[in-house]
């Protein structure tokens, strides 16, 4: 027989990994094959990284008024990158053909949006719901009146055909993401509805838009749609492209959200309705907050795809970031032959935005994880 009244004290867990040498031994040099791969990897890194750094930074020409600064005397290119191509035409890359004198307007709208959004990221901000509502419901009108003109402030109109560059990319993506999220969620609920008409309409909508390529949608919106509209109806090209993108992406969002809805246990639906919550209240207060949290990775995946797909608007004659660099600046005789720098820069900008979305979503997932918080 054994009896004890002594409760053992809590001890710290033994640490297995001690120091960098131990880490190297267990991760890079454990066994002959891994050692070979480690050296092979180091060799490849050595072959790639230094030349890239040399090209992009050490030998690069950063600022210049003309392309001659990037060329040798015999007319050949200098070995380094010619970032002057980017810095020299930076304004156009940012704003497209938006008139220089009016560029304060999109800047102001952008700054306003950032300043309004920042408080949302702090726990302590009071009346967050009101601020969020203001950003979603009121700010768009302010932003439109600023960037497009007319409207609230009576500023001179800058036609959407003049919008371009990163500004256009961001506007399309932001509007696209917000609306696609909204309509996608409604569609997902519709597809799970017990009402047969709502359900079949949602299914047909989703399956149709998911089944056609985005390029087709954009083509249709800009080439075919005007043929069906009465003569003289002027329907903004950007608006048409946006509607196409929103319809297309909401179908994807809908399926992602539906995955989340299906993962919520039946008991949650039952508990919500047993408390007397109506359908919409139980969806928005109980089911969707949980479902959305589950599908953050899938949603961000869709949004990143949407962000990159905005480059397709080029084919209907809108000049987003990539189109400006490739087709406008790249075709400029004064800067011929600096294609690579342009593409590298565009890739870098896209990567920054996509990577930020991805990091933000990871932080959000951690923050919303209420299951195992201590």
């Amino acid at each position: 027989m054994y009896v004890t009244n002594k409760i053992l004290p809590e001890l710290p867990a033994p640490s297995n990994a001690k120091g960098i040498v131990h880490w190297l031994k267990t991760n890079l040099f454990n066994g002959p094959i891994n050692t070979i791969f480690t050296f092979l990897g180091l060799f490849i890194i050595y072959k790639i990284i230094p030349p890239v750094i040399e090209w992009a930074f050490i030998d690069a020409t950063w600022f210049a008024d003309s392309s001659s600064a990037c060329k040798l005397e015999n007319g050949d290119r200098k070995p380094g990158a010619c970032w002057a191509f980017i810095t020299n035409r930076f304004d156009q890359i940012m704003y497209g053909f938006y008139p220089a004198s009016e560029r304060w307007r999109p800047n102001l709208a952008g700054i306003m949006l950032v300043l309004l959004t920042i408080p949302l990221f702090f726990e302590k901000t009071p009346k967050k719901a009101w601020l969020g509502g203001f950003i979603l419901l009121v700010f768009p009108f302010i932003a439109y009146s600023l960037i497009h003109g007319g409207g609230l402030f009576g500023l001179p109109v800058v036609d959407t055909s003049k919008w371009g560059g990163l500004m256009l990319t961001l506007i399309i993506s932001l509007v696209g993401i917000l609306f696609a999220l909204f309509f996608g969620t409604i569609l997902a609920l519709g597809r799970r509805s017990s009402m047969p008409i709502v359900k079949s309409l949602s299914v047909v909508f989703i399956e149709f838009w998911r089944g056609v390529p985005l390029i087709t949608v954009l083509f249709m919106s800009s080439v075919m749609l005007p043929l069906f509209l009465p003569e003289g109806t002027d329907f903004d090209k950007l608006a048409r492209a946006m509607i196409g993108i929103i319809l297309f992406q909401s179908a994807y969002v809908a399926e992602v959200v539906r995955g989340g809805l299906q993962a919520i246990p039946k008991g949650q639906y039952e508990a919500a309705s047993a408390m007397g919550l109506s359908y919409w209240k139980s969806m928005f207060l109980v089911i969707l907050p949980q479902a959305m949290k589950l599908v953050i990775p899938g949603l961000v995946n869709t949004f990143i795809a949407l962000f990159k797909d905005t480059t397709l608007v080029l084919i209907i004659g809108l000049f987003d970031l990539l189109a400006i660099i490739e087709n406008v600046l790249g075709a400029d005789p004064a800067w011929l032959g600096f294609h690579t720098e342009g593409l590298v820069f565009a890739a870098f900008v896209f990567w920054i935005f996509c990577f930020s979305m991805s990091r933000y979503s990871m932080a959000l997932e951690r923050k919303l994880d209420t299951n195992h918080r201590n």
């Binding site: 246990p265 508990a271 919500a272 408390m275 007397g276 919550l277 209240k281 109980v286 299951n371």
Partner: protein, 259 residues
């Protein structure tokens, strides 16, 4: 005999909180509930027991229309349940329910779980709802957990929160669907204590599907035994446990008390 029991027996013309009249339900071709007739007086405490698959949970889930019955009538506080959405939302505020798996909302704190329905269904101001929530959390003896999330609580604590959550709506009827069967043995008593206290206060109509025969003996006015979708026997706890009439009840009791 408890006090409450005497009083219900003396006032036989008291109003009914719930009436089930020839209720039938099918799952596809499977006849789960067969001609269920049950009158529950206001303030009466009823325990429903029976083997698994006997339809006992289905009965109480039909009462607040989480399951739809196909034949017969369900009358809650004098109103027949028609399945009309508005009517259901109204009736459900009067009928609280506790589930086997608690079904707390994991994304909300305990306090928010409790105030959700009062704020959004009863349109109560937040401060007032929180005051009521804290009152009930004290009653189930866990006011200190108010700002935690359900995932951080033990099963017993979660079920007590679930009971408090239902009570916040100030229901006239409480339905318990096997509230202790998902709990670890050492947590069962803390939940039963809360339920016994609630029952002893009187005034609350309680229908409880449970296998806790001790609970039935202590607080029930009536015990109902179901098998194969039918009510087999219905009696006071004393008679039910000491002198079961049907063979099926005798067998059931010998099985659950025998070990």
């Amino acid at each position: 005999m408890t006090d409450a029991q005497t009083s219900t027996n003396n006032n036989s013309d008291e109003k009914y909180a719930i009436q089930l009249i020839n209720m039938n339900k099918w799952y596809g071709d499977f006849h789960v509930l067969k001609d269920i007739n049950l009158n529950v007086k206001e303030g009466e405490r009823i325990v429903i027991c029976g083997p698994s698959g006997s339809g006992k949970s289905t009965v109480i889930r039909c009462i607040n229309h989480l399951e739809e019955h196909q034949k017969g009538q369900i009358i809650v506080s004098g109103e027949e349940i028609t399945g009309d959405v508005k009517q259901l939302e109204r009736l459900r505020t009067d009928v609280g329910m506790c589930f086997q798996h608690f079904n707390l909302f994991p994304h909300l704190t305990i306090l928010d779980n409790l105030t959700l329905a009062p704020i959004w269904v009863k349109k109560m101001p937040k401060k007032e709802a929180e005051g009521i929530a804290m009152k009930y959390l004290e009653r189930v003896k866990i006011p200190d957990q108010a700002n935690k999330y359900p995932g951080q609580l033990s099963g017993g604590q979660q079920q007590r929160v679930a009971i408090a959550r239902s009570l916040c709506m100030n229901p006239k009827v409480m339905l318990f669907d096997e509230p202790t069967s998902a709990l670890d043995p050492e947590m069962i008593s803390e939940v039963l204590d809360v339920m016994i206290e609630l029952a002893n206060e009187g005034g609350m109509t309680m229908l409880c599907v449970t296998h806790e025969m001790g609970f039935a003996k202590k607080v029930a006015d009536r015990v109902i035994f179901m098998d194969a979708g039918q009510i087999i026997e219905e009696n006071t706890p004393e008679e039910f446990f000491n002198n079961p009439k049907s063979e099926r009840t005798q067998l059931f009791l010998s099985q659950i008390i025998g070990h």
